[in-house]
């Protein structure tokens, strides 16, 4: 039913936009932008769109939230197959490989060049640019909302065990969790083990330790990449997490159980969590009165040379099959988003980080990171720029990665429920993940990633 409804809605929206897109004198050219954020964040995007429409007279962007990232991609595909696609669409990080093979986009760098905009691509933080760029370094889409994972720690609790700094290694974390437990804290650390946490537990961990998730440089070099997380340092990490869980040092917190880990941290129930910098604002707004907390980079195992962490979020793709006038509008819109002033507006109103060095510098010079609610978010930039991205820490470019993340959740749940051992669970993850990758490869015979 909903699919049919959405189909009709898409048709209606499409018909409407073509009807309105007929160029007329003095009427601005309208074009569609579909995005996947909802709630507070959707309101910020709407304001952003309004600011763009007010900033000039030639174009008018019509921004429509599709609810979430999955739905945005699904609806865009349905609309594209019906020839009613939006001009600009927000696609989440792990959808990048699917988009690159779709043949349904207009390369963003070419679009900007054709319309006379000069974008300095070296201005993007390399960790962000490389995640979305082709293996040759071309930007097919524009990074939009970006974040990375951080460790949130409760300063009050750590003060009780005589610590004034966040643990930097996992060995220290183990000792600190034990000390917190002995000091009477029931939940020293909270994690969750659904598909979503693949990001901070598997992907970020692997990048920081320069460990591959898949062969062929995490898939950048070919569709025949296969998973290999069952023989990297990640095995050790899951083993430790499971050990700490069994010892009662880690508790599983999720919305289904009553309280997710961000709530558990903000209310002071749990003392340590690993989550996105995007939650920085939420913790600040919902924290227990007077609680002292801070963020730090994710820990690494002792003796590891720390690499950059991965960016998370989404980028903006321009789809093929639209008119030149709409492309002009899209280019102007992307240029507007690229502006450092927009970066300041965007980061102030959301928890996302600036994606360009000039945006970051502009925000720093405005004293953004000195003020209380935003102080600490610069740690995300430090984490993202801890090193030049290596062949492995550029990102993850695997087909149908959403399904691999789901498989990660499934196997972690099996491991934590003592159904299988850590090694067995990760072996199954690799086996099932490889079947997904193989299927993706078969669907695109003879095609290669750009």
């Amino acid at each position: 039913m909903t699919i049919i409804k959405r189909g009709f809605a898409a048709l209606a929206a499409g018909a409407l936009s073509t009807a309105l897109a007929v160029p007329a004198f003095a009427e601005p050219v309208k074009f569609d932008f579909w995005f996947g954020l909802s709630g507070d964040l959707a309101r910020v995007v709407d304001t952003l769109c309004k600011n763009f429409n007010d900033s000039q007279k030639d174009y008018e962007v019509v921004c429509t939230s599709q609810g979430n990232y999955d739905a945005t991609l699904q609806n865009t595909i349905a609309a594209f197959r019906a020839g009613k696609q939006p001009t600009v669409v927000q696609v989440y990080d792990v959808g990048t490989a699917t988009m690159m093979l779709s043949g349904a986009y207009k390369p963003a760098d070419k679009l900007m060049e054709e319309n006379g905009y000069k974008i300095d691509y070296s201005d993007y933080f390399p960790g962000i640019a490389r995640y979305y760029a082709t293996s040759k370094g071309e930007m097919l889409s524009f990074p939009f909302n970006s974040s990375t994972a951080l460790m949130y720690w409760n300063k009050d609790a750590f003060a009780k065990i005589g610590k004034t700094e966040a643990p930097k290694t996992w060995e220290d974390v183990g000792a600190d969790l034990k000390a917190l437990k002995d000091a009477g804290y029931d939940c020293p650390m909270a994690i969750n083990i659904s598909a979503n946490e693949s990001w901070q537990l598997m992907e970020q961990f692997s990048a920081l330790h320069n460990q591959p998730i898949a062969t062929k440089n995490n898939g950048y070099d070919g569709l025949d990449a296969r998973l290999e997380v069952n023989k990297t340092k990640f095995v050790q990490y899951v083993t430790d997490l499971k050990k700490w869980y069994d010892a009662g040092l880690i508790k599983i917190k999720s919305k289904d159980l009553g309280q997710d880990m961000v709530q558990a941290f903000a209310t002071g129930t749990c003392q340590l969590i690993l989550t996105s910098v995007g939650d920085h604002g939420t913790v600040g707004r919902t924290q227990k009165e007077g609680m002292n907390w801070d963020v730090a980079e994710l820990p690494v195992y002792a003796g590891t040379e720390r690499k950059n962490s991965l960016v998370g979020g989404a980028s903006l793709w321009v789809l093929s099959g639209k008119s030149d006038a709409e492309y002009k509008g899209a280019a102007a819109f992307l240029n507007f988003i690229h502006d450092p002033k927009t970066a300041l507006f965007w980061s102030t109103n959301t928890g996302y980080i600036p994606v360009t060095k000039s945006g970051f510098d502009f925000m720093k010079s405005n004293g953004f990171y000195d003020k209380a609610p935003y102080k600490g978010r610069e740690v995300a930039i430090e984490s993202l720029t801890a090193s030049e991205p290596t062949e492995i820490t550029r990102g993850v470019r695997l087909g149908n990665f959403t399904q691999i993340r789901a498989e990660f959740g499934t196997q972690m749940q099996a491991i934590f429920a003592n159904k299988v051992s850590v090694q067995e669970g990760l072996d199954t993850l690799v086996k099932n993940g490889d079947a997904i990758l193989e299927r993706f490869q078969q669907t695109y015979p003879g095609k290669t990633l750009p």
């Binding site: 197959r81 159980l257 789901a406 749940q413 669907t443």
Partner: protein, 294 residues
């Protein structure tokens, strides 16, 4: 002799049937045919092309242990939730039919659950059954670790069964009550005068007379438990933990829409369709024999 109204020419009859045929074709045969075609090809999600693979999609699905796990989970879910929903509704309807005090109130109240959309209902049950915050938190306090749908597959399965049964109790109740009320009072009164008790009357008179309704509800409940479970699973467990509640209809959704594997999802929906058809045939062949239509 029976008198029949017939059309002079067969074309007029066809003409009258055309609007209905077009509807059925557009909304059933065409999509179903498309699904069959997709299940025999590998579809690129963006429509860039497809390859004919014959029965490969079916082979790879049937060779997948996760898929068999999904079939087993669906069967368990269908069996238990249908049983629960029907037995509870039958008991409630029988009691309401006896005109016990307040039965007019129950009649209205018991119909409500069916009117609630599955996701809304699932959200409510997620609160009620949350091990740390809801009603079950009290039980967990007394008996730590008793209820943990986050990691224990059996607990998660129990949650979705409870939520689904709760909804269908209302639906079944309407039909059972109507069936009970269609039984002539005189039959029951005669039996009562002959000295049979409530239970005796139920088994010997009421139950045999409502078997057509029981059979109808059995078919509907089993079919719906395969199809209408989606909203509940999506909100309450998302198929977890460790695939314990990954019912067939949910797996079709997650493979097709989240994983963009349209061909695999199409093949799975063909299998689901065949399974439901087979189950319905079995019910008509073997159970309907025991049904007495009046």
């Amino acid at each position: 002799m029976e008198k029949r109204v017939t059309f002079g020419r067969w074309t007029i009859g066809i003409l009258f049937a055309v609007p209905q045929l077009i509807l059925i074709f557009t909304f059933f045969y065409w999509p179903a045919g498309q699904a069959v075609y997709w299940s025999l090809t590998l579809q690129q999600p963006w429509g860039g092309g497809n390859i004919w693979v014959g029965l490969d999609n079916f082979r790879s699905i049937l060779a997948n242990a996760d898929y068999w796990n999904s079939i087993t989970a669906s069967m368990i879910f269908a069996g238990i939730s249908t049983g629960l929903a029907m037995v509870i509704a039958l008991v409630l309807a029988a009691l309401t039919d006896r005109q016990l005090a307040g039965s007019s109130l129950y009649r209205v109240v018991l119909i409500w659950p069916y009117g609630i959309a599955a996701p809304a209902l699932a959200l409510a049950f997620r609160f009620i059954l949350a091990p740390e915050a809801g009603f079950m938190a009290v039980v967990n306090k007394v008996w730590p670790g008793f209820w943990d749908p986050g990691l224990d597959g059996a607990d998660a399965m129990a949650s979705i069964i409870i939520a689904f049964s709760w909804k269908y109790v209302g639906y079944n109740f309407i039909f059972f009550l109507a069936a009970f009320q269609a039984i002539p009072r005189s039959l029951i009164e005669a039996a009562a005068m002959d000295g049979s008790g409530v239970i005796r009357r139920f088994w010997d008179i009421q139950f045999p007379l409502i078997t057509p309704t029981i059979f109808f509800l059995l078919v509907i409940n089993i079919t719906e438990s395969f199809q209408d479970s989606f909203g509940i699973v999506d909100i309450m467990t998302a198929g977890g933990p460790a695939n314990a509640t990954n019912l067939m209809v949910y797996k079709i959704y997650s493979d097709g829409f989240k994983g963009l594997d349209y061909s695999g999802a199409a093949a799975q929906s063909i299998i689901l369709m065949l399974l439901i058809i087979a189950l319905t045939i079995v019910q008509f062949r073997f159970i309907e024999r025991r049904v007495h239509y009046r």
